[in-house]
Amino acid sequence: MWECHGAPRGDGRRGSPGRGAGVVPFVALLLLQRRPVAGRALLVNGPGCPGNSLCRANVHEQTRKQVALLNATAQDLFSLYLKCQGEPFSSESDKLCNPGGIFFPAFHVNRTSEKKEVMVAMYKLFAFLNASLGNITRDQEELNPTAKELLDRLHNTTKTTRGLISNLTCLLCKNYNVFQVDVSYGESSKGKSTFKKKQQGCQVLRKYVQVIAQAARILLPHLSPA
């Protein structure tokens, strides 16, 4: 079990954020929108892909590890988040955190989907997650400033997500010459009541736990060194 408040435990499970070579684009610009916002993300700062120099040699391996890391840490993050919100979030997470009522990007790909399609879906997913994690982190910093471990985990997950987006950016550019993807960001929690903020974070993280596992299953075969 985790302790919500106090110094973080040194369990060595914090992921080192992947530092992709690409540019971390756009996501922060639209974090504060109140409603789900659709946008066209510019993957790079230019009209096209800059070439192979965007990607490092081990981008596949790094991306695979980042997804695996997110998948490995998602459940712990969710559990710790619930604990830090107080009861009845832990005991009634099924109802309180039911993600049915929130926006979450569709992730209708499977192992047989085309690689490009998977990559684009992944990009949309992690762009959304990155924005949502930013919202959650901001809310928790205000609401739970003493929950050091939760904040550390949120920061680390956000960083890993950011690195993953960079790597997906480079893969999309390099392999498919895709440099624009339409993405949707979640509803901003700013201005909502504290309860709604807690609930929204809970809903997003629960969905994140479900989807990241699916993403890991789907993405990893595509990223395996063939």
Binding site: C4, H5, C84, Q85, G86, E87, P88, F89, S91, E92, K95, L96, N98, E142, L143, N144, P145, T146, A147, S193, T194, F195, K198, Q199
Partner: protein, 1092 residues
């Protein structure tokens, strides 16, 4: 009057009229105006109303009034029963005449209204606005006091009633007070609901009471104003939610939280944190819970969740915390006269964080300047900065503390020039090219131009205590400060660090600067080395020793020593000895000189140390023992007045195989004792000291001293041997012990002895607690032997020898000695039996000699004819006694168990008897029965006379057992053994012991034996002198004897050596079968006649 009846009638009529008039005034007719009431709302006009009880239709009413201050009567007609007229000063006379529709007066009535009959009832107030503040659950009510119509200064009381829910349940009623100012003032009143205003509708109405003291009439509350409503969320078509939202309340508060839902939904439950609370129904769309005495919530607040039907959930968060505590230990100081830093401790945590956390502001009252403080909630100490204001030294700070629950403050008046806490000095540098002084520079960031600084320099050199050097200097603005340090020691590594404070009003030291290291330059050694000299045993050379100078004396690194020898200022010898040597040898022959030693380092030479080589003769030098004292050795000596230049105690350290190193210590001439200490001293090591006296003419050996810093037990016991042993004494001798083994001054030996065998398992003698242990203590160290007396003969003794010093006993050396046997007793024990034997022999010899003829005739007749041998003259009834044959007398005849068997078989004819020990062998019959052994005939016999024929049955005979005593018959009969049997017999007789009689053993019998038995036979140490298998112990009539195939038919006689008779069958009878049961027994022998 009684006489005038008409007068009487007039009087009665008048009385009747008057009575009627009075009656009409009090009761009146139905058309009379009644119940005239006058009420004023503003003290200027009053409204008068009256009733008419008749239901007849009336026309207009004439209303006339006359006030006492206005004599004119005012009249007017009115259709109502209500008129408004001025309020009179004192009273008003009112005349009201009711008329019919046609104008005919019905009735007229006059009223006098005095002022006290007038009631004062203000008009109902008018609510201007009712404004709800949902976050705070506060209603704000506004209304006008209508004060303009009243005189100035009247007291007004406003009664406000709050109602809620659809049923308009009264929640509270409060009275608000105000003073009328003869102006219309809009009054405002706030009310905080204990229930969020969103939960349900709240209603407000108000009335007033104006307390005018000058008004003597009846005063009363006004009517209630119309109700004003603050609608709840449950009245909105789609209003829903849990209220209040994100509210902060104090710990211990009672809180109402409601859940408003849409039409058609139902509330399943409401939880506060983990607990479910009972629902309080407010309306069809709203319910609430009431939390009493709320406890502090978690950092993220306490969740209140409303579970609705169809799995709908809504909620809110309640933050329950404490009002801020009064700041503790508020303190302000400046480190640079640019910023005042105030610190404090927040006290009890409020339990509220983030935007609900405690806010601090610093307000300076003199300047009126206010700053808000950004504090870190995670720190235990809060810090807030306030800029230093020009020309202001005194600051009166007010620290304001607030959070959503409450606020508090703390104040501090401070003279900032007395609260200077400089920053840590930086950039410390140390420089200097002197052996005794350095120059320090450092920098302090801050404007200290108006104060003096006191700086403290810590000086440490690693081998002495730290020293602090204070320097006061004028402050500057972000300046570099310097200090000079003198009186340092040459060639010493120093560490410096600095801290500063205000010099005039000390408040706090700054932190120490980083440490800076510096080594001073070298200087010539401060003094010459301490020297000593010793002549070689041959006296031709002189060895000069010097001690190294201490670091504080060397003033640098000593590189060499100059040694020179002067005789009358004339140099005889000069040497320069480089480090690290601390001695040298010079050849002087028999000359004497003055030796001079100078220590040199890179900076110069020390003053010379001088010593003369002259050694004055000494007489009768004694050797004393020294006493250990602490970790040194205490020595003392007599005062020698002629020793003018002191004493020298010299000793030598010896470590292993290296030559001993000379050491010495000098003492002034008035000293007579000293404790010699040295780090090289070791306990248990003997040190020899020599005390020299110093005269101007030379040194003289005064005495020798030997001692230990600590005496230890000897390392071992002396070796000792037993020199001599007798039956009652042991003489032991031991050797001297080497001094190094003694480890102290030997005080004696301890010899312990007690009876004891040499047994490693036994405890040591000294540890055994043996009560017979005897101890001899030998304190005469010259004695090297000891005779232990009074010991027991032929007894083992254990001897333990130990040496001992003041430090204790050595480990023991042990010996085991057996004393000799007592020889006299032994001799006696031997001689007596020998003498007895000799005596018996002599007696026997004499007897034999006297009876020699008889013996000869009896036992060894000259003609060895058995017939002539009386011994073999077997006669009948021999047992009946023949007095002549004494040797064959059977009186008494001791019966013995003997089984006599006649053997007759095809086996080798053995005409011998053999006796066997029943214990030697037992042959179990093949059929396993033991009947044979049971059927043995144990006979008693009188061996000497056997004349009966013994049949020798041819059958096999089983082997039985019988107790017999065998005798040596070998010498009397040697059986003949067939050659072919020899090998088999050899087989049997290969054992260590050979029977003295060779018996035939059938091969069958040998084969029947098991190999184990054979092996047993071979390896047995002792055997009976017969082959027991060849013995047949069966009686002749036993069944076993019939079947027995035992060809051994011999037995031995257990009788006297003089009574031997071989009971062998005659040879001619061997082949003739005879019944096997024809045996004989000694009973037969004695009872029956022999079978002739």
């Amino acid at each position: 009057m009684r006489k005038n009846p008409s007068l009487r009638c007039l009087l009665a009529l008048a009385i009747l009229c008057l009575t009627s008039l009075v009656h009409s005034q009090e009761i009146g007719s139905p058309e009379d105006p009644q119940n005239l009431k006058c009420v004023t709302h503003n003290l200027r006009k009053m409204v008068c109303t009256w009733d008419v009880s008749s239901r007849r239709r009336h026309g207009q009413t004439d209303f006339c009034y006359t006030t006492n201050d206005h004599p004119l009567t005012e009249c007017f007609k009115t259709k109502e029963k209500r008129v408004e007229i001025p309020v009179p000063e004192s009273s008003t006379t009112i005349k009201i005449t009711t008329n019919s529709i046609s104008g005919t007066p019905f009735a007229t009535r006059e009223f006098e209204i005095r002022k006290k009959d007038i009631s004062f009832i203000p008009l109902a107030p008018h609510i201007l606005s009712l404004t709800p503040d949902f976050p705070t659950s506060t209603l704000t009510l506004k209304w006008s006091d209508n004060g303009s119509i009243f005189p100035y200064g009247l007291d007004a009381f406003w009664q406000i009633e709050i109602l809620r829910k659809e049923t308009m349940e009264k929640v509270t009623q409060v009275t608000y007070y105000s003073k009328l100012t003869h102006e219309d003032i809009i009054l405002s009143w706030n009310w905080t609901s204990d229930m969020p205003l969103e939960c349900t509708s709240h209603y407000v109405k108000i009335r007033c009471f104006i307390n005018i003291t000058q008004f003597v009439g009846h005063k009363d509350w006004s009517d209630w104003s119309p109700v004003e409503v603050s609608p709840g969320k449950d009245t909105e078509p789609h209003g829903s939610g849990v209220f209040p939202q994100d509210t902060v309340v104090a710990v211990g508060s009672d809180v109402t939280i409601c859940c408003v839902h849409e039409e058609g939904q139902q509330i399943k439950r409401m939880t506060y944190g983990p607990e479910v609370y009972p629902l309080i129904r407010l309306s069809s769309r709203s319910s609430a819970i009431r939390v009493l005495n709320a406890s502090a919530s978690d950092t993220s607040g306490t969740n209140v969740v409303c579970s609705l039907s169809e799995d709908g959930m809504d909620g809110t968060v309640l933050f329950v915390g404490y009002a801020p505590d009064i700041p503790q230990n508020l303190s302000c100081e400046t480190s640079n006269f640019e910023l005042i830093k105030c610190t404090w401790k927040p006290g009890r945590p409020s339990g509220l964080y983030g935007k609900r956390g405690t806010k601090y502001s610093l307000f300076e009252r003199i300047s009126g300047k206010n700053v808000s403080c950004e504090v870190n909630e995670m720190n235990k100490e809060r810090v807030c900065g306030f800029p230093v204001l020009g020309d202001q030294k005194t600051y009166n700070f007010l620290l304001g503390v607030s959070n959503p629950i409450g606020q508090t403050e703390a104040s501090l008046l401070v003279d900032i020039s007395q609260r200077v806490h400089p920053k840590t000095p930086e950039k410390l540098t140390v420089s200097g090219n002197s052996s005794t002084s350095v120059h320090l520079r450092w920098f302090i960031n801050g404007s200290f131009a108006e104060i003096r600084l006191l700086c403290q320099i810590e000086i440490s050199n690693g081998h002495s205590e730290q020293k602090l050097h204070n320097v006061s200097m004028p402050g500057g603005k972000s300046s570099t400060y310097t200090a000079q340090l003198n009186t340092l020691h040459p060639y010493t590594k120093y560490w410096f660090r600095v801290r500063c404070s205000a010099a005039d009003h000390f408040w706090r030291w700054s932190d120490w600067s980083r440490i800076e290291e510096h080594t001073t330059l070298e200087a010539p050694p401060a003094r010459g080395p301490d020297i000593w000299r010793e002549r070689s045993p041959s006296g031709k050379s002189l060895k000069i020793f010097w001690k190294p100078l201490s670091l504080s004396e060397a003033n640098g690194k000593i590189v060499s020593h100059e040694v020179s020898c002067y005789l009358l200022e004339k140099p005889l010898e000069y040497k320069e000895v480089t480090e690290p040597s601390n001695s040298t040898e010079i050849k002087l022959g028999r000359n004497d000189c003055v030796v001079s030693v100078v220590a040199k380092n890179h900076a110069g030479s020390s003053p010379p140390s001088r010593i003369t080589t002259v050694e004055l003769p000494s007489d009768n030098v004694k050797t004393d023992r020294a006493v250990a004292m602490g970790n040194g050795i205490y020595i003392s000596w007599n005062s020698y007045p002629n020793m003018t230049c002191g004493y020298i105690v010299k000793w030598c350290h010896s470590s292993g195989s290296e030559p001993c190193s000379v050491d010495w210590q000098k003492f002034p001439s008035n000293t007579t004792d000293a404790v010699i200490k040295s780090a090289l001293f070791r306990p248990g090591v003997r040190y020899n000291f020599s005390l020299y006296g110093c005269k101007s003419s030379g040194y003289q050996l005064l005495k020798n001293i030997t001692g230990y810093t600590k005496e230890l037990p000897p390392k071992r016991a002396p070796n000792f041997t037993v020199e001599e042993t007798s039956s009652d004494s042991i003489l032991v001798k031991w050797e001297d012990m080497p001094i190094e083994d003694c480890q102290g001054f030997l005080e004696g030996y301890r010899l312990s002895f007690a009876k004891g065998e040499k047994d490693a398992l036994k405890p040591r003698l000294l540890e055994s607690g043996n009560p017979e242990l005897k101890v001899k203590n030998i304190t005469d160290l010259t004695k090297k032997s000891l005779k232990i007396l009074d010991l027991q003969g032929k007894t083992s003794y254990q001897l333990d020898l130990q040496a001992y010093t003041a430090g204790g006993l050595s480990p023991p050396n042990s010996l085991y000695v057996v004393t000799k046997e007592d020889s006299v007793g032994l001799i006696i024990a031997i001689l007596i039996p020998v003498a007895v034997v000799v005596l018996l022999g002599v007696v026997a010899s004499i007897f034999c000699y006297r009876k020699r003829e008889w013996i000869k005739e009896t036992f060894y007749p000259e003609i060895p004819n058995p017939e002539n041998s009386k011994a073999l003259q077997f006669q009948k009834n021999i047992c009946e006694g023949n007095k002549t044959l004494k040797t064959l007398e059977m009186n008494p005849c001791t019966p013995n168990s003997v089984e006599v068997v006649e053997t007759r078989s095809a086996a080798p004819k053995i005409e011998d008897t053999e006796m066997m020990s029943p214990a030697a062998d037992t042959v179990v019959p093949e059929d396993g029965s033991d009947s044979e052994t049971e059927n043995h005939v144990v006979v008693s016999y009188c061996p000497p006379i056997i004349e009966e024929e013994i049949s020798n049955p041819p059958m096999d005979e089983s082997v039985g057992s019988s107790q017999v005593v065998y005798i040596d018959i070998q010498s009397m009969y040697q059986p003949q053994i067939k050659p072919e049997e020899e090998s088999e017999i050899d087989l049997v007789t290969t054992a260590g012991y050979k029977p003295q009689m060779q018996l035939p053993i059938s091969a069958l019998k040998i084969e029947s034996r098991s190999p184990a038995e054979e092996e047993s036979d071979k390896t047995a140490g002792y055997r009976p002198q017969a082959n027991t298998n060849t013995w047949n112990m069966d009686t002749p009539d036993s069944p076993g004897s019939v079947e027995s195939n035992n060809e051994n038919a011999s037995f031995g006689s257990p009788c006297s050596i003089n009574s031997r008779q071989f009971l062998l069958p005659p040879k001619d009878d061997e082949d003739s079968p005879k019944p096997s049961n024809i045996g004989w027994s000694f009973t037969h022998f004695f009872q029956n006649k022999p079978n002739d």
